[in-house]
């Protein structure tokens, strides 16, 4: 099976290409806009929001894995282009739990999608609505592990700076953590089996306080600190603005905590991923092992 991987140089895409190459049953075709030279295997250069380019690319493959990341506009244009040309091919499309918006409680895949999920979530919802019949939609929670800048490296920096730790009620939300290896396994499985949408989050994912503690232990950033509510509010509402602006200029400053992130840490949304376990046969990476790998990678990054 020839499989086109879009976003092949991204955090997830890169690992999907490697896993497909090692699968024995698939041949990856790595598609990205600016291919990195060291990557091996068959590669094509394309803009995944360009329908004509995509049409040419999919002509030679049996299936597509869509790992395109980016802003809301990119997400919408990529989905519009891809699903216009995919035809009957199997597509495994990486969506997000952001499609559930501000929903709370135990969330199964049949939960109605939000119509006010913010710019990013709305775009992910719009993309899902364009999906073709033979598309497997994956809705991961927070993907952590080596290579995760958002849910591992940034958290590691915040833990080192003692800006997160024990957040009290502000960290009561479920982390819906899912290891990147498990996402890759779900993608590979989704190329061959399953139907419809699947939530991806480890069983009994810890709340954010629990995730921070486990990760801090792996990093050696202990003891963690109880971050007072006033500090987190200041950090996410006032300090976040200059830090976000500064981030565009330099990466040397501390990472911001945008208000949306602080909101997520308190949101009581728990993904029910039992369908993925059953249909896609996913066995979740244990948290201890996952954070140990993530911590080792983060330490190496932070030493650079």
């Amino acid at each position: 099976m020839r499989v086109l991987v879009l976003g092949a140089d991204g955090f997830v895409g890169r690992r999907v290409v490697t896993a497909l190459a090692a699968s024995g049953w698939a041949t990856p075709v790595a598609g990205s806009r600016r291919p990195r030279s060291e990557a091996a295997g068959e590669r094509i250069v394309l803009d995944a929001t360009d329908a004509a380019a995509l049409e040419a690319a999919v002509a030679g493959v049996d299936a597509v894995v869509n790992c395109i990341a980016g802003d809301a506009d990119t997400i919408r244009r990529n989905a519009a282009a891809l699903f216009a040309v995919a035809g009957a091919r199997r597509v495994v499309h990486l969506s997000s739990m952001a499609v559930y918006g501000a929903a709370e409680g135990l969330i199964g895949e049949d939960t109605p999608l939000s119509d006010a999920a913010g710019a990013y979530g709305d775009a992910k919802v719009a993309a899902e609505r364009l999906a073709t019949a033979n598309t497997i939609i994956l809705r991961p929670g927070c993907i952590y592990g080596p290579g995760s800048t958002q849910w591992s490296l940034r958290i590691a920096q915040l833990l080192d700076q003692r800006r997160v730790g024990d957040l009290g009620a502000a960290g009561d939300g479920c982390s819906n953590a899912v290891h990147v290896d498990d996402v890759v396994a779900a993608i590979l499985s989704g190329l061959r089996t399953g139907q419809g949408a699947y939530n991806l989050a480890m069983t009994d994912a810890p709340d954010w306080n629990g995730y921070f503690l486990a990760f801090a232990r792996a990093l050696g950033a202990v003891p963690i600190r109880r971050v007072p509510g006033w500090q987190l509010r200041f950090d996410s509402k006032i300090a976040a603005i200059p830090l976000k602006l500064a981030e565009r200029v330099t990466r040397r400053l501390p990472p911001p905590i945008p208000p949306s992130l602080a909101r997520l840490w308190a949101q009581d949304l728990r993904l029910d991923a039992s369908r993925a376990e059953r249909d896609l046969g996913i066995a979740w990476t244990p948290l201890d092992r996952g954070v140990a790998e993530a911590a080792a990678w983060c330490r190496a990054q932070m030493r650079r």
Binding site: A169, P223, D268
Partner: protein, 548 residues
């Protein structure tokens, strides 16, 4: 969701599966645990969001000896969060021996063993925000576990056990958002239960009457009731309802309100230590403050036929300037800033001009220590959400006092009763007659003697105290305030207990009691952690029965 009882008109509230009375640490943990298991809960709290003196007045009552027991308005709070809004946060589990029937302690023995609570303690620790359930110094603090007294090698005492500290967590503030967000919880504030009505044959609760502070009357007919009002108030509510059971609900054998226990605590003696001492707090990985303690081991309790006992090194009396510690003198001089209930030990005998001068002298001599103390008070207590648990100061001459906390044995004659007066809702006020026994004194006397021997034998110093002053020191401040234990005791025999091993009132099918009220013995441990663990266990049992 939160329901303001004042917004409801006279009449009845639609009924839920389970009604939990009292939104303190126990009631909140129980209600949310039930809600998470899919059970619908109405949580009724007599108070509102903050302290309201008019509401708090319902707690006023009488004590037979004001020197032995704090006023009933103090050390308990009628508001969301209950007494967790003012607690100190000290957590530790019961010891296995606490559950056993000890022939030297009358009426000892629980109908459940340590195994019944073991699965719930780790969760209780999380609810209390006391970190990981690990109370062993060596495993909980792999790096920071300095010995308490270098070279101490006790036969009767061990120092490898920890106490851990909650933030201290105000359950009302901490879990408020979850109570609001939960679809299965309905929290009714400002609603005092005034009557628990039984069926005519007295085997079931038929209805609850609830009165708001503005006089609105609401009747509820829950299928099930769990009373979590605290050790004094739960007994009061049961005693006050006498229409079907003439001596109070379930009280067929004159047990209700009796066996009232607290802890026996005091500060005594002079411990001169020649070896290095570490009596400050360590911080575990999870950020919780932990501290080693001297605990009387089980073999010694058995061999000497005494109750459970723990002790800590304590700085000398703050009010006595002879300690020479600038930080302590600064605290003494600034004691107006300390919350009222914690101020008692800051005012000693011999307040006077000369004393003040000597305290000022201590401050002037150690400006660095005073500045550090002020800075830490600001950053680690006032601005911190996880607060440094207490003042730790090293006495200049290496002379510590000993702070002890001992089990009080069950005693039928130590009791709470209904008095003649009534509160604004017409409920009889409480009369508390707390008593201690010769056995309680003996536990402390023997434990102190064993400790003195252990220290001498270890060659790390000496512990000198006046054996004739033990009883006076252990009752100097009376019953340890805020620990209200045993008034609705658990047991298998209805003639000597009020609730069974499942916390169900004997003979009343749909009434349970949770909290320290049901502990048949008091242990050495502060009761909150165990009360929460027992409540979580009860929640699981109620949920497993399909909401009864």
């Amino acid at each position: 969701m939160i329901v303001d009882a004042n917004s409801l008109i006279d009449g009845s509230l639609p009924c839920d599966d389970i009604c939990v009375i009292g939104a303190g640490a126990v009631g909140i943990a129980l209600a949310l645990r039930l809600a998470d298991a899919g059970v619908r809960v109405t949580l009724i709290e007599a108070g509102g969001d903050g302290r309201d003196e008019a509401v708090q007045d319902a707690y006023a009552g009488a004590v037979t000896d004001p020197d032995l027991h704090s006023p009933l308005r103090d050390y308990r709070e009628r508001r969301l969060g209950g007494t967790s809004t003012i607690w100190g946060g000290r957590c530790m589990p019961l010891d296995p021996i606490d559950f056993t029937q000890r022939d030297w302690i009358p009426d000892s023995g629980w109908p459940i063993g340590p195994g019944a609570l073991a699965p719930y303690y780790p969760d209780a620790n999380r609810w209390c925000e006391a970190g990981q359930f690990d109370y062993n110094a060596d495993s909980a603090l792999p790096d920071g576990a300095a010995p308490m007294i270098a070279g101490f090698n006790g036969q009767a005492f061990r120092t490898d056990r920890l106490e851990r500290f909650s933030c201290p967590t105000d359950f009302g503030r901490r879990y408020r958002q979850r109570l609001i967000a939960s679809r299965n919880v309905r929290l009714v504030l400002d609603a005092a239960v005034t009557a628990i009505r039984l069926d005519p044959d007295g085997t079931r609760v038929r209805a609850l009457s609830v009165r708001t502070k503005y006089g609105t009357q609401i009747d509820l007919a829950p299928r099930h009731v769990v009373l979590c009002a605290g050790g004094l108030e739960s007994a009061r509510l049961m005693l006050a309802n006498r229409d079907v059971h003439p001596n109070g609900i379930g009280n067929h054998h004159d047990v209700l309100g009796r066996y009232y226990m607290s802890h026996i605590a005091g500060t005594i003696g002079m411990l001169h230590v020649t070896a290095p001492v570490w009596h400050g707090y360590d911080v575990a990985d999870d950020g919780t403050y932990c501290r080693r303690r001297l605990s009387l081991n089980e073999e010694a309790q058995v061999a000497h036929r005494v109750g459970n006992f723990v002790a800590r090194l304590h700085h000398p009396r703050i009010a006595d300037p002879r300690h020479g510690a600038g930080a302590l003198s600064a605290l003494y001089l600034g004691r107006a800033l300390v919350p009222r209930l914690y101020r008692a030990r800051l005012t000693g005998e011999g307040d006077g001009g000369a004393n003040y001068l000597r305290h000022i002298g201590n401050v002037v001599r150690q400006p660095g220590a005073v500045v550090r103390f002020a800075r830490d008070t600001l950053s680690k207590r006032w601005l911190a959400e996880r607060k440094y648990p207490s003042v730790v100061a090293t006495p200049v001459d290496g002379a510590y006092m000993l702070d002890f906390h001992a089990e009080q044995e069950p005693n039928r004659d130590s009791r709470v009763m209904l008095g003649e007066e009534r509160d604004a809702l017409g409920m009889p006020r409480l009369l508390v007659d707390w008593r201690y026994t010769r056995g309680d004194v003996r536990t402390v006397e023997v434990a102190l003697r064993l400790l003195a021997e252990d220290i001498r034998r270890s060659g790390c110093g000496s512990f000198d105290y006046d054996p004739d002053q033990v009883e006076r020191e252990m009752t100097r401040y009376g019953a340890y305030p805020g620990h209200h234990i045993g008034t609705v005791r658990m047991g298998s025999d209805p003639r000597h207990s009020m609730v069974d091993a499942d916390c169900r009132v004997h003979g009343v099918a749909n009434l349970h009691v949770a909290g320290a009220a049901v502990f048949p013995t008091s242990s050495q441990a502060n009761p909150t952690l165990t009360a929460v663990a027992l409540a979580l266990r009860l929640a699981d049992r109620l949920a497993a029965k399909g909401a009864i």
